[in-house]
């Protein structure tokens, strides 16, 4: 086993729409360190080699969903990607579908806010909660099942991996369908299946999905996107037949 560290080449797709700078590849060389993540590698590049390099890290711990990018062509969170799991040349490109801000930075925030507004991803309830009263009960298993679907960190990896979205911009994507599944499961949300059908009962919603499952494999949170989409489709077909 050799002891000298690898020299990595980070091949980054750079661009700056604001400055009118067209996309082009640029290579940066860094020495690999023990336990190095792409967060550490890119930070080093910015500090030593390219002070203008744009990327978005916030939590650097796989929690906030800021740092999605195409890593060797596959969507993933750069802060959790250990360089030792990759070859000596690692290509990095911004996530497709989203508005490009510059270099590896894309505007997922705008897209996600759009999704939240369109699908109304909040609890719809007519009752005003009585804050001093003992809270309404919920089965422990149900609470955990809701959390399972609530774990989405809006990183956009599933969006970037989705074939439908590249062709049909208005498609809500796996993330949108997962959100609907989450609120549908939650008894505190008073919306009915008919209401949900109005939101996703066409080919910008659940009927647009071609079940190619480019989304499922790339979700860093391992959300059960495949089963949720299939389940939701059956429920919505049932409403459609009524």
């Amino acid at each position: 086993m050799s002891t000298s560290p690898r020299i990595l080449t980070l091949r980054v797709l750079r661009s700056s729409p604001v400055e009118g700078e067209a996309p082009h590849w640029e290579d940066f060389r860094v020495e690999e360190a023990e336990g190095m993540t792409l967060f550490l590698a890119l930070t080093e590049v910015r500090e030593r080699l390219a002070p203008s390099l744009q990327f978005d890290f916030v939590c650097r711990a796989g929690i906030c969903g800021s740092c999605g990018m195409l890593i060797d062509g596959k969507p993933g969170l750069a802060c959790c990607a250990l360089t030792r799991d990759h070859g000596t040349t690692i290509t990095l490109a911004p996530l497709p579908v989203f508005e490009l801000i510059g270099d590896l930075s894309v505007n997922t925030g705008k897209w996600m806010r759009g999704t939240a507004e369109r699908l109304e991803t909040w609890i719809h309830s007519a009752a005003k909660p009585d804050l001093t009263a003992v809270e309404p009960r919920m089965e422990p298993e149900l609470a955990e099942a809701i959390y399972e679907l609530d774990r989405c960190i809006e990183c956009g990896c599933c969006v970037a991996g989705c074939g439908t979205l590249r062709m049909r911009e208005e498609f809500v994507g796996a993330i949108g369908l997962n959100k609907i599944a989450r609120f549908r499961l939650d008894p505190r949300d008073e919306r009915s299946d008919e209401d949900f059908y109005d939101l996703i009962g066409d080919d910008t919603g659940v009927f647009g999905c071609m079940s190619l499952l480019g989304c499922h494999d790339v979700c860093p949170k391992g959300l059960p996107l495949q089963t949720q989409i299939a389940f939701l489709r059956r429920k919505m077909v049932a409403v459609g037949l009524k």
Partner: protein, 660 residues
């Protein structure tokens, strides 16, 4: 000149800012939120462990109420907190949890019947009461008498942040993402909004507001090793300081979290110890009981962190080429528990260490975690020194936490303070004091001043390198203003930071572009962060005692006689290199819980002259009201009802407790 007008400007889209914004919006105000990042990416999302509120639903939480939560909080603070604020907080916390439940947070729920838990290294069976089935559950956290920390597996902050953020969307509150407030507009007595930089285009604009609220979170990034997100740079606190009139308080009160993975500094939640995890040394020995026979791993964070460092100094750490560490052992909790309730911890261990905590111990060492200090406000959230300026969340020193905050009390503070400040701001905007009276000349002056600063950085002839200065500052803070502090080292830190501040005025920048420019951002933030670092280091140097998280090896005793006071820092003109410090005494004669021993840690405080009399007075009141209910006793000891906004009055119901 681009000017945006609004009733309420909330700077910060974390839990505190969002909740305050929703509150003001529901009172009919126009609200705009500014955030460096999409709000759901704020650091609140990283809170894994939970939120304290005395619901008393579980077997180990039975008998819990506001009184117990209050005492735990005051003891945790090492008597540094504002007790009235603590009362207000423990009163509103159950309401905040229940509101979040109604907004969709999937709190873990009580399952009636027997269940296996790990306590003090032993497997124990607890039987949860039938009457609580389906109510909100709670786990154990450090420094608490009852199991009080409500949680959503280990994604509590995430679930809370998403719920509140979605409420803000429901209320149609615009969030201007990727924007940064770089200065407050003010005339020396009244705040009129902020100068805001668009982080994509680089454009500066003025946001003119009747009420401005700073909710920008903590400033952990002045340290090299920290659990905080990269964006926790304290710019909100710094721009308040730079007004010269607003005040920062207790900046030297910095918390270090015991268990962060080594060496990356990424947090593993206190829930690991709460759920039964143990701390072990190089020889596999569980050492905490040797130091803290009563609370062991679950003493407050300041105490556990210090004991760990002490143990490492005594040579019991595991040696590596990055330095020494200890072990956190959660293997005894079993695969099912770890894969379910501690999954984020498992993911973090896998991603960053390549280990499986079901089988392997986790290498840990304390790191900077939380800023108790911040913008000094009153109990309603109004900032001292500048009308129309408000603050809440970690950016504020509302003074719930004093010199040490309890785990789970911070996310609780964000939403509770947000609830209160939302009301305060709405009241203010509706009042005559809230009217907008600002001249465009003033706005222009501020805008031009900020533009000039940026132009100087971009086109001046400075030669200093911003990243290098940043690294140096962070090293100084971690090495000399850390867990153990000493006069000579603190003096060195202050001297070196002052020198850095002078050098930071001569930064040069290679990237000349005005738009997205990370190098420029580092440069102007560093200039502000150095001021905060100086407030911390200089405050720590002056405070010749040990209290909570502030520990002076040369002054190891808590000194109530001289130091039962809050440090206040201001920065009058831009050419100062040190903050101006002043002190405000805490009034022992009005304390519901007069100073005493915390129940863990050292037992050697120097008593305040008024303590004895107040202890006797409290005892007299308690015996006089022997037959009265707890609300009446509390009211007699330290009334706080006048601080509770109308919307949050009323007694909190609990299963099995009479409220009237």
């Amino acid at each position: 000149m681009r000017i945006v007008y609004t009733d309420v400007l909330v700077v910060g889209g974390g839990l505190a800012g969002l909740r305050a914004a929703v509150g003001a919006r529901r009172r009919g105000q126009d609200v705009i939120i500014l955030s460096l990042v999409p709000p759901k990416r704020s650091h609140s999302a990283a809170a894994q462990g939970g939120m304290q509120a005395s619901l008393g639903n579980t077997f180990k939480g039975a008998g819990d109420n506001e009184d117990v939560h209050f005492e735990d909080t005051v003891r945790g603070s090492d008597w540094g907190c504002d007790q009235e604020v603590a009362r207000l907080f423990v009163h509103a916390a159950p309401q905040a949890v229940r509101e979040l439940a109604a907004w969709g947070v999937p709190w873990n729920r009580v399952k009636a019947g027997p269940r296996q838990v790990v306590m003090d290294g032993q497997h124990v069976t607890l039987t949860e009461p039938e009457a609580s089935h389906g109510l909100i559950a709670a786990r154990d956290f450090g420094g608490t008498k009852k199991w009080r920390t409500c949680y959503v597996s280990d994604g509590t902050g995430h679930a809370m942040l998403y719920a509140v953020s979605d409420q803000a969307v429901a209320e149609r509150i615009p969030v201007h993402e990727r924007t940064e407030a770089v200065a407050l507009i003010h005339d020396g007595t009244r705040c009129h909004g902020a100068i805001v930089r668009d982080l994509v285009t680089g454009e500066l604009s003025a946001y003119v507001a009747k009420a401005t609220c700073i909710a920008t979170g903590g400033f952990g990034r002045i340290y090299r090793v920290t659990t905080n997100a990269l964006i926790n740079e304290g710019i909100g606190a710094a721009i308040a300081l730079e007004t010269g009139v607003a005040t920062l308080a207790n900046m030297e009160a910095v918390q270090f979290h015991p268990t962060t993975i080594f060496p990356a500094g990424i947090l593993v939640t206190e829930g690991c110890r709460g759920d039964g995890g143990l701390l072990k040394d190089a020889s596999g020995h569980r050492f905490m009981p040797d130091y803290e026979p009563e609370k062991k791993e679950l003493a407050s964070r300041d105490v556990v962190s210090r004991r760990m460092e002490e143990h490492i100094r005594a040579g019991h750490g595991v040696k590596t080429r990055f330095g020494d560490h200890l072990w956190l052992d959660i293997t005894l909790l079993g695969a099912q528990h770890i894969n379910g309730k501690l999954r984020e911890v498992k993911e973090i261990c896998q991603h960053f260490l390549g280990i499986d905590p079901v089988k392997d111990m986790i290498p840990v060492r304390p790191a900077q975690h939380y800023s108790m200090g911040g913008i000094r406000t009153d109990a309603a959230g109004q900032a001292r020194g500048l009308a129309g300026l408000f603050a809440c969340g970690e950016a504020a020193c509302w003074d719930l936490h004093g010199f040490n905050r309890l785990g789970g009390n911070s996310v609780a503070e964000t939403v509770v303070a947000g609830m209160i400040v939302g009301e305060t701001m709405a009241d203010f905007v509706e009042s005559s004091a809230g009217e907008l009276q600002v001249s465009t000349a003033l706005v222009r002056e501020f805008l031009e001043r900020e533009q000039a600063k940026i132009d100087t950085l971009l086109h001046g002839n400075g030669k200093e390198n911003a990243s290098e200065l940043m690294r140096r500052m962070q090293d100084i803070m971690t090495e000399k203003v850390g867990i153990f502090r000493r006069g000579d080292l603190l003096q060195e830190a202050v001297d070196e930071l002052q020198a850095l501040l002078l050098r930071s005025r001569k930064i040069g920048i290679d990237t000349k572009r005005a738009g997205a420019n990370p190098e420029l951002v580092t440069a102007y933030r560093l200039q502000k962060m150095l001021k905060l670092a100086l407030c911390v280091a200089y405050g720590a140097l002056q405070r010749t005692e040990s209290r909570g998280a502030h520990f002076r090896e040369d002054y190891p005793r808590r000194d109530d006689a001289s130091w039962l006071k809050r440090t206040l820092a201001t920065w009058h003109d831009d050419f100062q290199t040190l903050p101006t410090l002043a002190y405000e005494s805490l009034d022992v004669t009005r304390m519901e819980l007069p100073p005493g021993w915390r129940g863990y840690g050292a037992k050697n405080a120097i008593e305040h002259p008024a303590t004895e009399a107040r202890v006797a007075e409290v005892a007299t009141i308690r015996s006089a009201f022997e037959r009265a209910d707890r609300y009446t006793v509390q009211q007699a000891l330290m009334p706080f009802d006048h601080l509770v906004p109308e919307a949050f009055r009323g007694r909190n119901a609990r299963p099995g407790e009479q409220t009237s």
